[in-house]
């Protein structure tokens, strides 16, 4: 059951979106979010949406997987919508029922906010779906490398991220094993009140932590054996290089942001 966790899942592929440099995709995501939050009317939302649809189509990732990924977030979407519907005030209430007053502005605002969050999540998902975790950390390291001058441990951070990602499946497997072992000794994880269930997790967490520390110790020794000495003087097998495709993507991003700003300024 724990194997179903799809945290930052990556769909291998060879679409133009997959082939983009991870740095391009990261910058794209930031630009896209800026555009999304600049958008203020129907036309600009439509433009952003069209761009999103275009990228989804290019990425060859089935729409279904994107929508399944959204499932756990449906609650947040609805919650935001409902809040906006009830708590926005306008000129003339459409419905007035006791203290509840729903205005036209409220509904419009709710739709906008939901669309914004929906597109925000879709965009972020697209990044993790089309970029392998390792190239994502590589891209982050490369983008943040100017911060090394401010003594920020950029290499160490990306190394930590990389190792964390590497060990997620291993630790999940381990948790499964420990749970089975505890169940075999009569532990009960499925019944009882919330507090009892939380307490039942302790016999899982304790061995899990101990083994994680032991793993960390062994991994550190193995890394030392392989001459790891931090980021200084380290080279990379795969060098990141911007290609023509990346420049096209940047051009497209500029067009998107300009379009949204123009639409906002002229209020079309």
């Amino acid at each position: 059951m724990l194997k179903d966790i799809t945290l930052g899942q990556y769909f291998p592929g060879n679409s133009p979106i997959h082939r983009l440099d991870p740095r391009t995709k990261l910058i794209w995501l930031i630009g896209y979010i800026v555009a999304l939050f600049t958008a203020g009317n129907w036309a600009s939302y439509l433009v952003v949406f069209l761009f999103l649809a275009f990228v989804v189509a290019l990425s060859t990732i089935p729409l279904k997987s994107i929508l399944t990924g959204l499932k756990p977030l449906v609650f947040i979407l609805i919650f935001t919508g409902v809040l906006n519907v009830f708590f926005t005030t306008g000129e003339k209430p459409l419905i007035a029922f006791g203290v509840i007053r729903i205005y036209r502005e409220g509904i419009i605002r709710a739709v906008f906010m939901m669309a914004r969050i929906f597109m925000l999540i879709c965009g972020t998902f697209l990044l993790t779906y089309t970029t392998s975790p390792i190239s994502l950390t590589d891209g982050l390291e490369s983008l943040l490398s100017p911060l090394k001058k401010l003594r920020l441990p950029v290499h160490e951070l990306s190394m930590m991220m990389c190792i964390a990602l590497r060990f997620i499946p291993t630790l999940i497997e381990e948790t499964d094993k420990i749970m089975s072992a505890q169940k075999a000794r009569g532990a009960d994880f499925e019944s009882g009140k919330l507090m009892q269930r939380v307490k039942a997790l302790i016999p899982i967490l304790v061995p899990l932590f101990i083994s994680a520390f032991r793993r960390a110790d062994e991994l550190a020794t193995a890394m030392e054996c392989r001459c790891y000495q931090g980021g200084d003087g380290r080279t990379k097998m795969k060098l990141l290089r911007y290609k023509l495709l990346d420049f096209k993507a940047f051009l497209l991003l500029v067009v998107l942001i300009c379009a949204v700003i123009l639409l906002r300024v002229f209020g079309l």
């Binding site: 990389c162 062994e218 991994l219 020794t221 890394m223 392989r226 001459c227 000495q229 795969k238």
Partner: protein, 282 residues
């Protein structure tokens, strides 16, 4: 022949915690490993096999005596990286020595640390993966591989650093028979084809029998040292330190106790069968 590893009067004890006395592992041990040889180190649990292995790579430093790797003193801090470059280590649990989440990225980890230029790393990684027969898995995630495959990836990660010597600390202890065979075949091929010195720490007698030389450790001392045939024919000695000879030798030994007079240096099944056939015929 020059010496890949040379241990001179090594003594080592684990430091004690809070005033308790430390635990002495070695008091005075000397050992040399020739360049290009394949040495198996045997011993029952707790005899200091792994501690000895960690001395070869300067993970642990001697309390007394010296350890030289290709002529370099391991306690010389300036030579630390050079020592670790010359001696690669493979550990028991393959899961805990794989760093990256793509096979080829993990193999590249060592050369990347050494500051090798990118195109050269690519070449080394491809060669190393071909040598261990994992080339077609280069883009897989390590956690989806079998134990034997993971261990071969770990070995590839060491080969990519182009060491002169590889020390393997019970590399097959967590593997199934299929995985053990894969790993042993890889080790034998590396030694035979690339001339890499191999020190294999194990408690599997049949694996030790494949080596050119067997060193038996007991209570921090060398109890026996010689070719597999020489060492394993000393059945009484091995029994006294809670070890056993390979099954073929054990069989001949038991039969000898029942009145036969069979040679005790026939390690392979074929040789043993031939010896039995001859004995029965005579």
């Amino acid at each position: 022949m020059s010496k890949a590893i040379s241990v001179e009067h090594l003594s080592y004890s684990y430091p004690g915690v809070d005033d308790t006395p430390g635990v002495a592992v070695f008091e005075d041990i000397s050992l040399t490993v020739e360049d290009g040889s394949f040495v198996a180190v045997l011993g029952s649990n707790g005899c200091g096999k792994s501690t000895l292995a960690k001395q070869f790579n300067a993970i642990l430093l001697p309390c007394g005596g010296k350890v030289y790797i290709c002529g370099m003193d391991t306690s010389d801090e300036e030579r630390l990286i050079a020592v670790r470059r010359s001696v690669g280590m493979v550990f028991q649990n393959p899961d805990n020595q794989i760093v990256a989440n793509v096979v080829e990225e993990d193999v590249a980890f060592g050369p990347e640390n050494l500051g090798v230029a990118s195109p050269v790393i690519r070449q080394r990684v491809d060669n190393a993966l071909r040598q261990v027969g994992m080339y077609e898995y280069r883009e897989h995630a390590p956690h989806l591989l079998s134990g034997g495959q993971k261990q071969r990836v770990a070995i590839a990660g060491i080969i990519a650093m182009e060491p002169k010597c590889i020390v393997l600390d019970e590399p097959t202890a967590m593997l199934d028979p299929q995985g053990r065979k894969e790993v042993m075949d890889t080790i034998l091929a590396l030694n035979a084809q690339k001339g890499i010195t191999v020190v294999l720490i194990t408690h599997h007698m049949d694996e030790a029998a494949m080596a050119q030389r067997v060193v038996v450790l007991s209570n921090g001392r060398i109890a026996a040292d010689g070719t597999p045939a020489e060492v394993f024919s000393q059945v009484d000695l091995l029994h006294s330190i809670r070890l056993a000879s390979p099954e073929t030798v054990e069989l001949c030994y038991e039969l000898n106790r029942k009145g036969f007079s069979l040679p005790l240096d026939k390690l392979s099944v074929e040789e043993c069968a031939q010896a039995l056939y001859d004995a029965i015929k005579a």
